[in-house]
């Protein structure tokens, strides 16, 4: 519920952010020109800009000055010392900068000669037009416009109302400027992210609520049979298995719980298999752990989102458990050596098991690893039995790839998983194929020889009985194997 509320709020905020971003680039977008006006203050017929004011916003400025009807106005640009000298001790208004984006800051000017008093305002406004010192000037009745491109140096503008009863003109400076819309894409981007996040929360929240309902129902169903592996699937229920997957095994601790990868936790759940089964070399340990890890994670985390995965996993696991049960019946268990041998480790089944246990026991071993090639002598498979291989098996490339995929699937974080579950972009049941391959691999005879691999190929595509033909040293089969 809370998630759904939060999701809704996030969506709203996201929409608002995107709207603000768009608005900043449209209705609130700055104008292409900055126009600022200056109203003269106090006495005097002059307005003088400080150095730097002309280039305040942009290099090109258009200055226009207006005086009341019937008067003359002159604009001139000159070096700051020249303008100051020309104005002398007459009163004037000084433009010091922008007070806001539409108004220029105006102050009363001080006389050029610091000691001198400001003169009385002259009755007739003197005309600066025509002085040899100006680099640009314009003069006209009522209003006049002057364009100026800023250049290095302290250039100042002198605007003067001219003639009898003249007043200081009102200045208007306008600069073209490049308007940027810096908040458009950030706004839209942040908005989109928020909306997505909100939608995600809404969806997940909805699913979780459904899943909770479903879980409740399931829990009541499964509680009765009391199947231990069912309880292992609920991840709250298996703290011993998943809580500390990499915790080192205490020497002598026969308990299966804390050992290496996540996978054995599932196995650990059924007590019957615990000590012996993992040690049996019935199948590549890496494979088993990888798949189990993947399935286990899948089932544990989103029971709701990926309903198919746990179902398939459970089925598979059951089938494998059946196999294992058979395997344990087989008396040829080579690693009866130490009870604390690493059951999930690929090294575990090595024939030289005696030296393995103690030092390795403390090492956390990540799920998949390339199995150590077995001794050539020790891997003579017995065709009739599916669990004949006594040493580690050399995996085919396909198996390795499948194993790698499974491992990746197991490693992938929750978000990807969630997205996958929602979008279904990658089939959630994919690990199942690997499982099948692994199962076949386990059932298959030796694949270390080309003949064996050929047999495996046949098995994969359904040609004949592999367990019998796999050993046939047929030269053609061998060639086929080579060519692959």
């Amino acid at each position: 519920m809370l998630q759904r509320i939060l999701g809704g709020v996030l969506v709203l905020i996201g929409l608002a952010a995107a709207a603000l971003g768009v608005a900043s680039a449209t209705v609130w977008r700055d104008t292409d020109t900055v126009v600022a006006t200056a109203k003269p203050t106090g006495d005097g017929t002059f307005v003088v800009t400080d150095p730097g004011v002309l280039g305040l916003v942009g290099g090109d400025v258009t200055v226009s000055a207006t005086v009341p009807e019937g008067q003359k106005v002159t604009l001139a640009v000159g070096r700051d010392v020249d303008v100051a000298g020309w104005v002398g001790n007459d009163p004037y208004s000084r433009v010091t900068g922008l007070s806001d984006w539409e108004n220029l800051a105006v102050a009363a000017g001080e006389p050029a000669d610091a000691d001198a008093e400001t003169n009385e305002a002259p009755k007739s406004g003197p005309d600066p037009a025509g002085s040899d010192m100006w680099v640009a000037e314009a003069s006209d009745e009522n209003s006049v416009t002057l364009r100026w491109s800023d250049r290095p140096g302290r250039w100042t503008l002198l605007a003067a109302g001219v003639g009898e009863g003249a007043q200081a003109p009102t200045l208007e400076l306008s600069w073209p400027r490049a308007v940027t819309t810096p908040y458009l894409w950030p706004g839209v981007g942040v908005g989109a992210v928020l909306v997505l996040g909100g939608v995600l929360l809404l969806v997940v929240g909805g699913r979780r609520a459904r899943a909770r309902r479903a879980d409740l129902a399931e829990a009541t169903d499964s509680a009765a049979p009391g199947s231990p592996d069912e309880s292992a699937d609920h991840h709250d229920d298996g703290p011993s298995g998943l809580g500390a997957p990499f915790a080192p095994v205490r020497p002598g601790a026969a308990e299966a719980a804390p050992w290496a990868p996540a996978s054995p936790a599932v196995d650990a759940a059924h007590e019957g298999d615990a000590p012996a089964a993992p040690a049996t070399p019935e199948e590549p340990a890496g494979d088993a752990s990888g798949e189990d890890g993947a399935q286990d994670d899948g089932t544990a985390r989103d029971a709701a989102g990926t309903a198919e995965v746990p179902l398939a996993g459970r089925l598979l696991r059951r089938s494998r458990r059946r196999q294992r049960a058979e395997a344990t019946d087989v008396p040829s268990d080579p690693s009866d050596a130490a009870p604390d041998a690493l059951p999930g480790s690929p090294d575990g089944p090595a024939p030289t098991g005696a030296e393995a246990p103690a030092p390795l026991a403390g090492m956390p071993v990540p799920a998949p690893a390339v199995p150590v090639p077995a001794e050539p002598s020790g891997h003579e498979p017995v065709p009739a039995e599916p669990t004949t291989a006594t040493g580690a098996l050399r995996m085919t490339r396909r198996e390795l790839r499948a194993q790698e995929e499974a491992r990746r699937a197991a490693e992938q974080g929750g978000m990807t998983r969630m997205l996958r579950a929602i979008t279904g972009s990658i089939p959630a049941v994919r690990p199942q194929q690997t499982e099948q391959a692994a199962d076949q691999g386990a059932a298959r005879p030796d694949t270390s020889t080309p003949a064996g691999r050929a047999a495996a190929w046949r098995a994969t595509w359904g040609f004949g009985d592999t367990s019998r033909t796999g050993q046939a040293a047929d030269p053609t089969t061998e060639n086929d194997g080579e060519n692959r």
Partner: protein, 337 residues
């Protein structure tokens, strides 16, 4: 997702949104950045050319009307005195042959870096149409609201090389009239030169500090004197010829040259007197003098006043060079008897 995470998320999103909104509002106002202070010439070459053109136009108009008053807007100081005199003479004679021709084109500009006023800029003109030597003209802006006006001109002495000046884009510093970094202060240099002109190179004690070229003002003044002195019976008749030149102390302008010396322009007031025996009649000799004298009757005395604009090169104090005259203008501006 528990309650704390929820609250955290809510707070975070609120912060993000409000920050974005606030950032959109606060667009900082630019502050004026005054550029680097000007240190170069006070006029651009273009402006200086305009000044020169404006002056030449005004002078040309006055020349045409032969009216000294028409010079006022763009001519001042000794240049105005001399030019107005020349124009009045020309009007009386109805002939402008003695009005100095000043070409309206400049071949070199010497622009000052003076921040205050007065400011003086200099120009060396091209040669005249009559292939006379170029003129060195000084323009002065007396006050900020005044225009640049022609203050002085001299005709360069043939064969004299001008000192080097800083480029017009860099500007040359003005030199005070009592500047002591020179072999002689501008005022002193002018006074010494006036002494040489008055007494002649042989008699003046300052002649050693000068390197006088042929055809400078001293030679011109000597030539004036010899007009009288070479007349037969000049000495026998007891006629006296006196000449006195003095440098004006205020009309001095100087500008730094590239080698640390200075170009000094000034004015010498000259006065010559020819006094013959009682009852004798001394005629005015030149056409200018005649025009200046006007209709006055001839007497035994003739006084002529000259306003001579001169230009000197004064080297730096530690220089091996000597002061040398660069140009002059020797024009009678008054005559009486």
């Amino acid at each position: 997702m528990n309650r704390r995470t929820t609250r955290g998320l809510a707070v975070a999103s609120a912060v993000v949104v409000s920050t974005t909104l606030l950032a959109g509002c606060a667009d900082e106002l630019p502050q004026p950045v005054p550029g680097e202070a000007f240190s170069g010439p006070v006029l651009t070459e273009e402006q200086d050319t305009q000044v020169f053109t404006a002056v030449a136009d005004t002078v040309a108009k006055a020349d045409k009307a032969l009216k000294g008053a028409a010079l006022k807007p763009r001519v001042t100081g000794p240049a105005y005195e001399v030019r107005a005199s020349q124009l009045s003479v020309a009007k009386k004679r109805d002939n402008a042959e003695f009005v100095t021709d000043i070409p309206s084109e400049s071949q070199q500009m010497i622009i000052p870096t003076t921040e205050g006023w007065p400011r003086t800029s200099y120009s060396i003109t091209t040669s005249t149409e009559d292939l006379e030597t170029p003129r060195l003209v000084a323009f002065e802006q007396a006050s900020p609201r005044a225009d640049y006006k022609m203050w002085s001109w001299v005709q360069l002495i043939p064969g004299q090389s001008m000192p080097y000046f800083a480029d017009s884009a860099v500007g040359s510093a003005a030199v005070a009239k009592d500047d002591d970094s020179l072999a002689a202060t501008p005022v002193d240099a002018l006074a010494q030169y006036a002494d040489i002109v008055s007494l002649g190179a042989k008699k003046s004690s300052f002649a050693k500090a000068f390197k006088l070229p042929d055809g400078d003002l001293t030679a011109a003044v000597e030539a004036d004197a010899s007009v009288w002195k070479d007349v037969d019976g000049f000495e026998e008749s007891g006629t006296k010829y006196t000449q006195k030149y003095t440098a004006r102390k205020d009309d001095v302008r100087a500008v730094r040259t590239a080698d640390g010396g200075a170009l000094v322009m000034g004015v010498l007031d000259g006065k010559t007197t020819v006094k013959a025996e009682e009852g004798a009649k001394v005629p005015a000799i030149g056409e200018s003098q005649k025009a200046l004298l006007g209709d006055a009757d001839e007497t035994n005395e003739l006084k002529t006043e000259y306003t001579d604009m001169v230009a000197l090169y004064v080297p730096a104090k530690d220089s091996d060079e000597k002061i040398r005259p660069l140009g002059f203008s020797h024009v009678p501006t008054a005559a009486s008897n």
